[in-house]
Symmetry: C2
Subunit: 143 residues, 2 copies
DNA sequence: CTTGCTGCAAACAGTTTGCAGAACT
DNA sequence: AGTTCTGCAAACTGTTTGCAGCAAG
């Protein structure tokens, strides 16, 4: 699964004529070792600890490439930071975001996915991707 | 409908001990006269044309109040600007966003709404609100 | 050796904040 | 009169960009 992702990026890089660099390898490794909607800053710090001398800008630029290559996806929650999550082929999950403790639960629902396609078709839309977030109080915070 | 909204804000203001000011009235009027996901900047310019001397900061501060009072809702698309849309009681619509021409089509689907509630219930979540955006190409841009 | 990639710092854009004066109650 | 609200400008935050040097092909 990690290897697949690396291959995915290599293929993308090859098709775009991008060069293979140490930084991109490191950033990909660290990104693949994370879970759950990591922010650019968080990733940057993680990288820096094991690999100082990788700049902010490179992390931003590289994450954009990951998103473009299809292995990551940009998500915007309401905290003013751009976050990235892994794209898992053939799977799409959405988010339940707790407005009290900021925890995030993922879920997937095939029926919703299907309805989305129907709606898009009804409006002549060709779906590229979508996102859904439900905000509320998680079970812990309701107590 | 516009009157309802004004009342809604007045009630909120009263309950919070907020003062009634010319600026807030103007901003509410202009906001209520708009449609479709207006950005703070757009709203600010609209206000300024008929009512110079209303500051950026006040528009930001006031829109936050509108959101808090329940008559507006903050939405984040992928263009780096915070936008606000009207909250219509008992109705929730979602967005089809064209990634080519940036047009936005609203839609509503009761089945999806119901599924969301089921999902939230299954995870012990108490829904406050949610949003769903489908990105893709609109019928015009597909041609 | 050519061109793309990187790190740095400066630039940017959107948003927030501190403060003195104005306005509401 | 007392306190909230406002406008302004400055500060902030996250992100992007220009550029000289470095490194991959």
């Amino acid at each position: 699964m990690i290897l697949e992702k690396k291959k995915m990026f290599n293929d993308f890089a090859a098709s775009k004529g991008l060069r293979s660099t140490r930084q991109r390898d490191v950033i990909l490794d660290v990104f693949l070792s994370t879970h759950q909607h990591i922010s650019v800053e968080e990733l940057y710090l993680k990288i820096k600890s094991s690999n100082p001398g990788v700049g902010h800008a490179t992390v931003y630029r590289t994450l954009k490439l990951f998103a473009e290559s299809g292995l990551a996806r940009e998500i915007l929650l309401h905290d003013g930071q751009t976050r990235y999550e892994h794209v898992i082929a053939g799977e799409h999950h959405d988010h339940l975001v707790c407005t009290s403790c900021n925890s995030i639960v993922e879920f997937e629902d095939a029926t919703i996915e299907k309805l989305q396609e129907e709606i898009a078709a009804r409006h002549g839309f060709q779906i590229k991707n979508h996102k859904m977030e439900i905000y509320g109080l998680c079970s812990n915070c309701r107590k």
